[in-house]
Amino acid sequence: EPEVTQTPSHQVTQMGQEVILRCVPISNHLYFYWYRQILGQKVEFLVSFYNNEISEKSEIFDDQFSVERPDGSNFTLKIRSTKLEDSAMYFCASSGGLGYTFGSGTRLTVV
């Protein structure tokens, strides 16, 4: 069964540092998403990406966040200057139209 692959599985970073979270979506999917889940809490929408541009973003997705599809297959989330409150599980998801396939996530710890 096709999978969404995320790397790294765990990243520890100093506050104020930049991090890049990487995702390889399912190859024939057209819609891509980033969600985050703070430990024990709900899954929160960050951004959706379609046709090489952001289609929707949440209020969480401020100027510190950006997304790219640099080579037509990878899909990245960059946080420019991390804060303690950015510590969470970050999930990439892709969709062919309805329903998501999620990756296993990147656990980001900001210290």
Partner: protein, 111 residues
């Protein structure tokens, strides 16, 4: 208007019993209602989903009941097994747009 309210927060069921998780939504524009199952350390996995033109959908031991007039939908797990112990999230979206997730229900099935 974008909220999805899920209950209960946690649920303990005996093996072989029926697990029932409920969700309510507000936005009548939602037209896709998936349920996701999440095991610790993993991303949510699509379990079953329904569109508002049907009142029930069954896949194996999992059934979604949908009440459009009440803006409610529920997940029923028949013959619950210890391997079903996980966190379950309902969600709602407009086609391939962002999904709004419920807060999650932690299900424990006792042997």
């Amino acid at each position: 208007q974008q909220q999805v309210k899920q209950s209960p927060q946690s649920l303990i069921v005996q093996k072989g019993g029926i697990s029932i998780i409920n969700c309510a939504y507000e936005n009548t524009a939602f037209d896709y209602f998936p349920w996701y199952q999440q095991f610790p350390g993993k991303g949510p996995a699509l379990l079953i989903a329904i569109r508002p033109d049907v009142s029930e959908k069954k896949e194996g031991r999992f059934t979604i009941s949908f009440n459009k007039s009440a803006k409610q939908f529920s997940l029923h797990i028949m013959d619950s097994q210890p391997g079903d112990s996980a966190t379950y999230f309902c969600a709602a979206s407009i086609m391939a747009g962002k999904s709004t997730f419920g807060d999650g229900t932690t299900l424990t099935v006792k042997p």
